[in-house]
Amino acid sequence: MGEPRHLPILLFNDECAVCRLIAGWVCRSLQSQGDAATLIVQPIGNDPAALRALNPSLDIWDAYANIHLIMPDGSMKVNGEAVAETLRRTPATRWLAPCFNWQFFGRRPLQAILNVAYSALSDIRPLLGCESCGIPSLWLRPFHWMALTLRGKTATRNHSAVSSQTIRR
C-alpha cells in the first residue's frame, strides 16, 4: 500500500481538456491561498497497478470514466460526492461545502443537485472538445454530430478518433 498518506488524492483525466481545466483551477486555488496542503491533485496515469496500490478496488477504467477522490483511510468518493469533498477542501469554495450536508427529511437535496450537475457536465464533455471522453449520451448525439461536423471531423462508430495532437502529447 506504500507509505501512509495524510491527504486525499483527487484523480483527474489528463487526456480530457475539461478535466485538465478544472484540475488546474483547483491547483491554483489551493496555491493562491497559501494554505497548508489539503488535497493532492494527480493525473490518473496509465499504470493500473499504481492505482490498485491506492485502493485495491480502484479500476483504471472506472477512474477514467468517473471522478475519484481517494481518502487518506483508503476509502473512495466518486462523482458528486468527490466534487463536494473537493469543494470542501478548496479554500475558495470551502464556505459552500456545508450546504451539501444540509438534510431535509433525511435527504441531502443540494448534494443531489450537485450529483445531477456533475452528471450533466460529464455528459457534455465530448461537446466541449474532449477527445477522450467517448460516447455522448443519446440526447447529446445530434449536438455532438454538429460539433464534429463544424470541426470538420467525421463521426465514428465504436471508435475514438485519435488526433495527432493526442498521440504526441
Partner: protein
C-alpha cells in the same frame, strides 16, 4: 469494472518485437487507451475472447498514450484498433469492432483462417 484476471498482456515498444513479431503463434495487438470509452466497452468482451482462445492465439494490449512510437509505426488513427499479426506480418485489422462476443471473435479469428502454423 474489476478484472479478476487479465488475459490480455500489456506490451511496450521494448518487448513488442519479441512478443508480437517473433512468434509462430497468431497474435492480436489491441491499440487502446484507458481514457477511451469504446475501449472500456470492448475490454470485458476482449477478456472473454482472450480467455476462450487460450494459447491458440495471443492477445496483447498496446496503450497508445505511452507507446506513441508503436502507434505511429502502425499508423493508428483511433482506438480501439486490433491488428492481427502472423509471423511478424500484419494480416488484418479491425477498427472499432462491435463490443459483442460474436463480432469480436470473428474479428480476431477470421484473418487467421486457412493459415497453417507450419506454413
Amino acid at each position: 469494472m474489476p478484472v479478476a484476471m487479465d488475459f490480455v498482456t500489456p506490451v511496450t515498444a521494448e518487448n513488442f518485437n519479441e512478443l508480437v513479431l517473433r512468434t509462430n503463434i497468431p497474435v492480436v495487438a489491441e491499440f487502446m487507451s484507458y481514457g477511451c470509452e469504446h475501449c472500456r466497452l470492448l475490454e470485458p468482451v476482449l477478456q472473454k475472447v482472450a480467455e476462450k482462445l487460450g494459447s491458440r492465439e495471443l492477445i496483447f494490449r498496446v496503450n497508445i498514450a505511452t507507446e506513441q512510437t508503436l502507434a505511429d509505426r502502425y499508423q493508428i488513427e483511433g482506438t480501439p484498433t486490433l491488428v492481427m499479426f502472423w509471423k511478424g506480418v500484419e494480416i488484418g485489422r479491425a477498427i472499432g469492432p462491435d463490443p459483442s462476443m460474436q463480432a469480436l471473435w470473428d474479428a480476431v479469428t477470421s484473418p487467421f483462417e486457412g493459415l497453417s502454423q507450419n506454413g
